[in-house]
Amino acid sequence: MSSPAWFERLRAHTVDDAWRTYDAVQAGPEGLNAFLAVDRSARGADTGRLAGIPVAVKDNLATLGLPTTCASRVLAGYMSPFEATAVRRLREAGAAVIGKTNMDEFAMGSSNENSAFGPVRNPLDRERVPGGSSGGSAAAVASGVVRIALGSETGGSVRQPASFCGIVGIKPTYGRVSRYGLVAYASSLDNVGVFGASVAEAALGLEIIAGHDRFDATSAAVTVPDLTVATTVSTEARPLAGLVVGRPVEYFPASLDARIAEQCERALQLLRDLGAEVRDVSLPSTELAIPVYYIIAPAEASSNLARYDGVRFGVRAAADDLGSMYERTRSGGFGDEVTRRILLGTYVLSAGYYDAYYRRAQAVRTLITQEFAQVFASGVHVLFTPTAPTTAFRLGEVSDPYEMYLSDIFTVTANLAGVPAMSQPIGTVDGLPVGGQLMAPHFGEATMLRVAAALEHAQRAGGMS
């Protein structure tokens, strides 16, 4: 059997191509700043499904031979003595890990402006943000340096930058990909995710890194389906016949930018044309997702980031006593957004506030999860929504933290419920890409990717750039 066209494109993009593009897009004051460290000697292996194929990895995934800084001063220059399972699996498949990508510090942010090493620029408009927190990986794929990159998700950090940069981004089911070696932000929400230049390329990346890992107690012993097969679009006229696509009304509020809503409706019409039934459904607790997320994620972060204390690794500030060493190391080591979330998380876990905030947030999280389960149990196979409420905004345009948090309003729910979700380009507004989001039941990646591939195929056939 001959290789599909997408695979030929992937294989044709060599490490040398990657460096040529890299040198072009990173150069100058307007350079993307998508990478924090590179390995020009990386060649990958001669065999394997990704033999010799250049990939990029977000800087919160532990790597051997390249620093792992999480774009934080507190980890400047930190070399991990072990490698993340997802990265190891890429290398075992033959990939050449050419570099570590810029990100919001400790994955906290939606614009990649929170990096201690400067913001990343959107390759499609250098005055704009690439989204975050995996902005470097998204920019690396969108600019053509690599065709597959790893990111991470806690509330939309793969899907939102994929949407802003016009590429595909997948957040798998919680437990589908090992978190071993993913530097923790909020452990119950964190996922390793994948960016791809196309649905099939992202799916291949996911298939390679997915599967049970005995080093992560939360990784699931669930068989990984053949996702390449799932993304092979059938030649039938109505390949999605019999499939029900839910349109959760809460994700299409009256306040939604009409131009984004229009792109979504066009995509939904394409899905109908492909044979799917589109059905309005309701996920009533959606509006609570942002407040719930900003209780649970900071709570876990406040604990996960306690280890950056200057004692064993990373940066240590000089001080006369232990208390001031901690204080100076952490005050100097963390940026504003990280500090804000640590303080918020410390507060919501404190005695006297735990029940009012953390316990209640967990109860609402359970409710949100149940609502997803009910919708999927009602015969809906996948959900379709906008990925983000806006297109890429200008650098510095959003300065209010709460306004920034709302950028993830359509994506945090999948992290709270643990279901798989993805973003793919569905059109443009004023020349900027708009992402459409698909969500599926737990471990329903194959169905989700089948729909995504069919939609992508129909869009290309229909002339969407």
Binding site: A217, A306, V311, Y326
Partner: protein, 484 residues
């Protein structure tokens, strides 16, 4: 005022928190060795160092041992328990939190019998809960000038924390509770339970209140107790201190105290603990621990006979006095060896006397482990049989034991070679008797003339002549027959 006067009218209320190190080869959340005494930080890895990206994976053997410990302490083991993070900053706490259990512990509601009450009913101290957790590392302050060092070999060692209800009412009860606890954990084979080595660590919570009051007083916590007697001494000191403070109109401050063994004093810890807000929350890295009832039953079945059951059985089966039973139960090894000797020799009382007397003294003097003691179960049993049969005297038996400590060989052969076997042969005995009577004609005449009280003197002379080898019983019989 004497300390006895000062405590008049005040009731002592004590609860114990015992940290017990489980006997696993590897740590609770990683594969590092739990061995003791290796070079600093030799037994560490990304997980127990808390490096970025590392994740804990629960050690199944630790769960088995913790379950067994809980069952042995009479607790109900829960089918679901949850690991939680206890957050605080300390240099020897690598992650900035300790993985422990909080509102859903492994087991709850157990009990330990610590003795008998005046009315004859058992004195029971309730166990509130048992939970699993990881140990922290060690800060070393005395090795480098102007610097503290950290050894994380111990970080991640599996522990169970066993919390009692505040049922304990005296220093002696606190000691008894801790001793019985150690005994049970040792029998259950879940821990070395050694206070000196730190595999059993006891913290005492102590408060006082007026007799008859229902509410508890403000408590202090005493740490750094490394022996059972230290527990008892520290409790007495702190009891008197709190009573004095209250009698003088002061208030007891909630604080952590340290016991100084050398000076025999209790003083406040330098750093004020107790004001911590640990911000417990379920650890998202570890799924809830689910133990099927079949697993719990299997662990219960794996337990050997525990001290309470053995205590009643020893008393009933062997008819031993309570004090002997208690001493024999002190360690499982001693009790097991006693049972083996009792069974092989057929004389439990003598077996108990030998074990608690000569054998323990020899073990203590030699520093050898009981299991390595040269007088094996079989050799001790053979010795006891010789003693029962009258083949060796009580005195000779002790000599024989001393010889068996030094040399190999069957006890009978060793005794024979050393001339320790009693001579019971009439011919030899009559010969010695004749010689003694001939050498002491005056006494012989008086004895044969009816002065029976001289028999003892003559037996002594015969024994002396035989160099202790004559069987005194037979000599008595033969002499009595002569006197007619």
């Amino acid at each position: 005022m004497s300390s006895e006067t000062i405590t008049n009218g005040w009731e002592l209320v004590i609860g114990l928190e015992v940290h017990c190190q489980l006997k696993t080869r590897s740590k609770i959340f990683c594969g590092c060795a739990t061995s003791f005494g290796d070079a600093p930080n030799a037994n560490t890895c990304p997980v127990c160092l808390g490096l970025p990206g590392a994740l804990p994976v629960l050690n199944a053997h630790a769960v088995e041992l913790a379950t067994r410990a809980s069952i042995a302490l009479g607790c109900t083991v829960h089918e679901t328990s949850i690991f939680a993070r206890k957050n605080y900053f300390y240099p020897d706490l690598p992650k900035g939190y300790q993985i422990s259990q909080f509102d859903r512990p492994l087991a709850t509601a157990g009990a330990i019998v610590v003795g008998v009450q005046p009315d004859g009913t058992p004195r029971v101290i309730r166990v509130h809960r048992v939970h699993m957790e990881e140990d922290a590392g060690k800060s070393v302050h005395d090795r480098f000038a102007d610097m503290s060092a950290i050894d994380l070999n111990r970080a991640g060692t599996p522990l169970v924390e066993i919390v009692s209800e505040p049922d304990i009412r005296s220093a002696a009860e606190a000691g008894a509770y801790a001793r019985r606890m150690k005994q049970i954990l040792e029998y259950a084979d879940v821990s070395d339970a050694n206070m000196e080595e730190g595999s059993l660590r006891v913290d005492v919570n102590i408060s006082v209140r007026r007799h008859g009051d229902a509410a508890l007083g403000t408590k202090t916590e005493i740490k750094n107790l490394n022996s059972f007697s230290a527990i008892e001494r520290a409790v007495e000191i702190e009891y008197a201190r709190q009573c004095r403070v209250l009698t003088e109109g002061g208030v007891v401050e909630q604080q952590t105290m340290l016991y100084d063994d050398k000076r025999n004093e209790v003083r406040p810890a330098r750093s004020k603990e107790g004001s911590h807000d640990y911000r417990y929350f379920p650890d998202p890295d570890l799924p809830p621990l689910r133990l099927p009832s079949a697993f719990i039953k299997h662990q219960a079945d794996a337990l050997p006979e525990l001290p309470p059951a053995r205590r009643s059985r020893f008393a009933a089966q062997y008819g031993l006095p309570e004090n002997d039973v208690e001493q024999l139960l002190a360690t499982r090894e001693l009790a097991d060896r006693f049972e083996a000797v009792a069974s092989a020799s057929g004389d439990a009382k003598r077996a108990a006397n030998w074990m608690l007397g000569t054998v323990l003294a020899s073990v203590n003097a030699s520093g050898l482990a009981l299991s390595a003691h040269p007088v094996s179960v079989d050799r001790l049993a053979a010795l006891i049989k010789l003693e029962v049969a009258g083949d060796v005297s009580n005195t000779a038996a002790r000599q024989l034991f001393a010889m068996l400590e030094q040399q190999d060989g069957e006890p009978l052969e060793v005794a024979r070679a050393a001339g320790l076997l009693q001579v019971r042969d009439d011919g030899a005995l009559v010969g010695w008797i004749d010689e003694v009577l001939a050498e002491n004609p005056a006494e012989a005449a008086r004895f044969l003339g009816g002065e029976k009280k001289l028999q003892g003197v003559l037996v002594g002379l015969v024994m002396k002549k035989s160099k202790g080898a004559a069987d005194p019983k037979k000599v008595n019989q033969l002499l009595a027959a002569r006197a007619g």
